[in-house]
Amino acid sequence: MLFVDEKAEAQSQAAGTAQNAVGSLLIVRKDGIQETLRGKGAVSLYEFDVLKTEPGNQAEILLDGAVQVYLNEGTEVMVLSRWEKHRPLIRILRVKKGELLVKIAEGPKPLEVETPVASARVKQTEFDIKVQEDGETTLRVLEGVVEFGTAFGTCPIRTGTVSYGVRGKKCTKPKEEDYAAALDWAKELARK
């Protein structure tokens, strides 16, 4: 179409579905209205929703039909996106604290995960990101490549390696680590 104003489509868009919660998943909408998912379900998620799991609770959500996200206990994450002219909308998860395991199916679905000290940009990959109360971030890549960065530098992190992001420093060089046990929580959640 011609002569149509191009609006920032990032505002108030449907973003996905909350599918399962062990215990409960609290969804705080942009206007402060709260909704809770307990067990299996299909609660719609929108831009600016804040998702919270209390200690002992976990949840599973699907974003944009292609991004499976598992939320561990004690997690708080906001669902956002970034609009750029002539580029596909970039889905963003802004993690305040807690842990996410993210699996992205094939296809051109860019995703970024932001934490208080770092950012991870991914496509077609599987990774776990854990954020401490002070923002310190641990990134573990299960499959694929994650462009992990702080304001002080970017590190490509590949399958089977881990990197750390802390305030005021570049992300650490990738290091091999056996972290299978650390991700048991997500495997358990996927089975439920």
């Binding site: 191009e6 920032a8 990032a10 600016f48 963003i92 934490t115 000290v117 304001a151 005021g168």
Partner: protein
């Protein structure tokens, strides 16, 4: 005035005769224009209109409107221009987002959510990051100026205004809690907190390296010495001082030009913190707010949030040279370098 929302094919068609003429002229053996006149950068003025969610663009030499750009967000408040002048970052208070404007095409090309009540934006001296103060979140977001990722946040309570020191090693962030925080740019940590006054707002770096700010709630301006990180001067200027820029009046200067919203005046003082005294009071429009000088400090541009216009002051004579209409509630003016 042109309202820019896209490029129409009709407009492109109309440009053909001009392009053809240019081609013909280009083929002829004529001396390069750069041999005829010394190089001189043209100046562009950008004004954020909070009420109309737009940015007005004005030619800094002719004072004629060039266009009005939709921010694609709500309550456009502050502006920061990259050094090359090709990208303009605009905060939008109500949306909590920063709009990125491509200045050659005068179009918004990205929208980045930073946080609640995104108020002020400043670009680091190396040009890599835009720092955005989110008042309601109490954070400063670090945004890439190229990839637009948010690479982190720095907690600063009720963050309002930001400016960087001359060497770029420190950021000064004003807070509604009557302080200015000094942030180590290399560590993203607050290293010092300086008490100032009520409702400190925009901060600005003076040509002599001092950090200036307005206490919008208590009628004065303050000057911080970045070597000591303490207030070394204050000056009462009148009700609701808003923003500050610097210019020269003949051989005198640098002078600080302060927009004082409650007086409908621009007040001047020497920029020397040991010699703060009101020198001149220039009558302007209703509720002067945004203020910025041209690169050589011979003109000062003042935006008025009530009369919705921009006045151009000749610093040599303190006369208003021109008045240019703007959008609704203009807040911030920036000028290309």
């Amino acid at each position: 005035m042109q309202r820019i929302t896209g490029v129409s094919p009709v407009a492109s068609f109309k440009l053909w005769p001009i392009l053809l003429a240019g081609l013909i002229v280009g083929c002829a053996e004529t001396p390069s224009v750069s041999n005829v006149m010394p190089p001189r950068d043209s100046t562009r003025i950008y004004v954020a209109n909070e009420g109309s969610n737009t940015v007005s663009v004005i030619d800094g030499d002719t004072f004629k409107p060039v266009g009005e750009i939709e921010s694609l967000n709500y309550a456009t408040h502050d502006l920061a221009l990259t050094r090359d002048g090709r990208k303009l970052f605009a905060t939008n208070l109500a949306s909590g987002a920063v709009s990125v404007i491509d200045t050659p095409t005068l179009q918004t090309v990205a929208s980045i959510y930073t946080g609640k009540r995104s108020h002020v934006v400043a670009i680091t001296n190396d040009g890599k990051h835009a720092w955005v103060a989110n008042i309601a979140d109490g954070t400063v977001s670090i945004v890439e100026t190229v990839g637009y990722r948010v690479l982190g946040v720095i907690p600063v309570p009720q963050a309002m205004g930001i400016t960087f020191s001359q060497d770029g090693q420190f950021a000064y962030v004003s807070s509604m809690n009557k302080t200015v925080s000094v942030v180590d740019v290399a560590a993203h940590q607050i290293i010092e907190t300086i008490p100032v006054g009520t409702n400190p707002h925009f901060l600005v770096l003076a040509p002599n390296g001092y950090i200036w700010g307005t206490n919008t709630g208590q009628n004065d301006v303050f000057v911080i010495d970045p070597k000591e990180n303490k207030v070394v001067g204050t000056l009462e200027v009148g009700q609701a001082p808003q923003q500050i820029t610097f210019g020269y009046k003949g051989t005198t200067g640098p002078l600080a030009y302060i927009s004082v919203g409650g007086l409908n005046k621009v007040v001047t003082t020497l920029a020397d913190p040991k010699n703060l005294k009101i020198r001149d009071q220039i009558d302007v429009g209703e509720e002067p707010n945004g203020i910025w000088s041209n690169p050589v400090g011979s003109l000062v541009y003042v935006a008025h949030s009530k009369s919705n216009d921009l006045r151009v002051i000749d610093t040599a004579t303190s006369q208003v040279l021109a008045t240019v209409p703007l959008g609704r509630k203009p807040i911030r003016v920036v000028v290309s370098r």
